[in-house]
Symmetry: C2
């Protein structure tokens, strides 16, 4: 990602916290000021909104990816989103205060933070543009391409809410894709 010296790498590694959390664990609630960002070492988690008492899934994150309520984490404002684990997870936790201190001591680690912010932006923009440009079926196909395991690891009603369609429509799309009749 960004070449750091051994000393910087050590300082960075020292800052990280390893944490195991069970399935269905709420990492961030709507309204929390989130002081942590998470790298998912194993397991999966989702980011979702609450709308009129319903949960709307906005993102699913599998192993080897970051998940955070990034606006809350960056600006230290109440989170609009919630994050919960969908499987038992091994997480690497990045704490806001520790990161800020570390960057003060090792300014080059700033470029690491920048790389994360940029990457988060790009992933989000791809998703947002897909929402504008693609049909629900096309978006489902893209999900399957990126994460072939998604339909066995994520409940169907969450996938449907992510696609902005009803579970019945999702079931129809799945039948069509697998070659079944409607």
């Amino acid at each position: 990602m960004v070449p750091l010296t051994n000393k910087e790498q050590e300082a960075f590694a020292d800052m990280l916290i390893y944490r195991s959390v069970p399935k269905k664990f709420m990492l961030v609630n709507v309204g929390d000021v989130s002081r942590e960002a998470y790298f998912v070492n194993s397991g999966c988690a989702r980011l979702f909104y609450r709308k009129n008492g319903e949960e709307v899934s906005a993102n699913f994150v599998f192993e080897n990816n970051f998940i955070a309520s990034l606006e809350s984490f960056l600006l230290q404002v109440p989170s609009r989103q919630a994050i919960e684990t969908l499987e038992d997870c091994e997480l690497v936790v990045l704490q806001k205060e520790r990161l800020t201190e570390l960057i003060k001591k090792h300014p080059r680690i700033e470029s690491f933070s920048r790389a994360i912010a940029e990457r988060a932006f790009i992933i989000l923009q791809r998703r947002a543009s897909s929402f504008i440009l693609d049909s629900p079926e096309e978006r489902y196909m893209k999900m399957l391409n990126e994460h072939p395991q998604i339909s066995s690891r994520i409940p169907q009603h969450m996938i449907a809410s992510y696609l902005g369609i009803t579970p019945v429509s999702l079931s129809r799309i799945r039948k069509r894709i697998s070659g079944g009749t409607d």
Copy 2:
């Protein structure tokens, strides 16, 4: 934004390019590798996608804001989006090569880049979440709150495509808001 020394500020200012462009000028085309990001000093511009021969507006930017095909600019990959001015614009142009060189010489300017990437992410996420959570009418109200001048400066069909509705539906919403009957 980020406290820089006088020397850093000078180096940064030296890098900037001032450019006047007329209305309806294409700053970035779909497929271009974008080497520039723009700060709009005056005027307004829009970012849009092309879908089956149609233009889908994704963002409008007025004076004192940045506009860029950020994924293309950051990763130097072909742009999925186009950018055009909607009014005569005074732009401050940030060129990729110059910025990269500047950061090499003045590493603390990195934090400026990070701040831009973070801000871009947050603005995009607010828009994406509004797409998920709000009705077209609510989204239009938010637009008006943020940019009261939007309906006099942006053509209605572009606003409609941004909201994901037809111009007829937008006209109905506008009548409802102004207290007219349907």
